[in-house]
Symmetry: C2
Subunit: 306 residues, 2 copies
């Protein structure tokens, strides 16, 4: 059986917290359902999910709750790359067991200046210990945050060692030249490249990309998914421009608190603004300014208010 | 009861792994006993312990094994700062329950460019959730690796909010001016500053430092501890020079694999050379060159070979 590959637009789903900073699983399920209704897949436990502020137990619990609620695992690409090999193996194995369409894997990110040999061995150990032909690994290249890059040479080595299992990458370098190099070198081999923001969605699609995985797919999902569906349409460039404007409005603030402020406003659930430390929420003034700016641009999150 | 504060020289104890990369608890206990016999305390789960390549469960198990073996918790300062608040709280709570003399706390290190407000809140949440007057927190400033600095302003704020509980810092910035500023501003208030290498042991002691916590205390413990004990002696500068030479020999190689190669050689236990990915062991040639260079300098690890 060759399951259908995940493609399209995915959201690194923001994680809702209660006042005591514990994850709110019911709210999380509701949010995932809404995103699916907007034609956007679920890259839960990404950078914008504050995934690295959650323990492995908390991630497993949230994943189990999504499955228990009937959310389709084929639409899920949970982040499973942790600092500790044992955590990455445990979380990846769990995701595969649940039938997740893929996993998005950060390199171990504490130790800096590590070699490609060491990173190859990190990914290889996870792949071999999980040992499941259904595993689909998407390599997560986000040097501005992880400070541990995934080089083109490393991709090449991994693809050669584990063809089929190494299924693609999310490129959050913000560097189109790197995304284009990934596409040029590996897309033909069935390696699915997702730019890490809709900024490069259209450019990516024109060069054989698979979609995008973007922070702002949390707040502007339908419009981003529409460009994915209609990237050959005459208005594609105009759509891209409009997406960039909305993203630019969020980018005036720290991204994760800004996403959560917007979700809090348009859902009517104030608790959504809660972030785990080391992040801090937007101030009341910042949140008002963001919402007001978005409203002036005709932005809305239809269907979010339960 | 005011327990005696941890001072002197501590080792971020290297963690032994079996061939399957699981921690070797028996070997770990032996190593900790040997270090104590050399007059060096146990900063287990530090950077050089590959602590961030271990899961929280693995760290708790190793700590329990030390206690079960009768190793004195008052000599332990385990690293308990993780990316996830819930992991930091769980591990810190466990260390305090076991009676550890202190905990060495990294800031959450995935998200970069976070504010002092967010970092203050991170540490404050751990302190308040653990809620034990016996807690002694040593702040771990290691910007070359964590990329998340602990500023002097943050130290000041934390000391003011949690006097007594915020007990000191390990400064692994490698920047003497920063260590000196910490000493000048906070040592008088009972804040114990440990330079993150013996390079600044003598300078630190002359400015009111509390000792040092150093990678090379894994391999050269007695000599480093001797300088701590005799820093006012006439030969202190000569001692410092000799320590710097030995450290310099290790520093020609990636530090953690080099420490483990030396322990493997002088203990006669080859398995000690094992590291978890993303690290890679020294090559056979590198290990031979290191050992040969050390032997030419008259280096030894007396009492290590069981």
């Amino acid at each position: 059986m060759t399951p259908k590959r995940i493609t399209g637009v995915l959201s690194p789903v923001v994680t809702p917290f209660k006042a005591d900073l514990s994850p709110n699983a019911e709210q999380f399920v509701r949010q995932c359902r809404w995103l699916l209704s907007q034609n956007v897949g679920l890259a839960v436990f990404g950078t914008n999910s504050e995934a690295n502020s959650l323990s492995t137990d908390e991630k497993i619990e949230l994943l189990d709750r999504l499955i228990a609620a009937g959310v389709d695992p084929a639409r899920m690409m949970p982040g499973t790359g942790c600092c500790a090999l044992t955590d990455s193996v445990r979380l990846t194995r769990h995701a595969v067991k649940l039938g997740c369409g893929g996993v998005l894997m950060l390199p171990p990110f504490y130790y800096k200046g590590v070699s490609d040999d060491g990173l190859f061995r990190s990914f290889a150990e996870v792949v071999e210990r999980v040992g499941d032909a259904g595993l689909r690994v998407y390599l997560y290249h986000i040097p501005p945050v992880s400070n541990v890059p995934i080089t083109l040479t490393l991709v090449e080595r991994l693809l050669k060692a584990y063809p089929g299992v190494i299924a693609g990458a999310k490129d959050s370098s913000g560097n189109w030249n790197n995304t284009k190099a990934m596409l040029d070198q590996f897309a033909a081999a069935g390696f699915d490249v997702f730019p890490g923001a809709e900024t490069f969605l259209l450019a990516g699609m024109r060069h054989g990309g698979a979609g995008c995985i973007s922070a702002t797919a949390n707040v502007n999902p339908a419009a981003i998914a529409r460009l994915y569906d209609s990237w050959r349409a005459p208005d594609a460039d105009a759509q891209q421009k409009r997406l960039d404007e909305i993203r630019g409005t969020f980018a005036k603030y720290p991204m994760i608190p800004a996403l959560k402020a917007a979700v809090a406003h348009w859902s009517g659930v104030a608790e959504w603004a809660t972030v785990r430390p080391p992040l801090v929420p937007l101030t009341r003034e910042q949140a008002s300014a963001l919402v007001s700016d978005l409203q002036q641009r005709g932005f809305d999150m239809p269907g979010l208010r339960g």
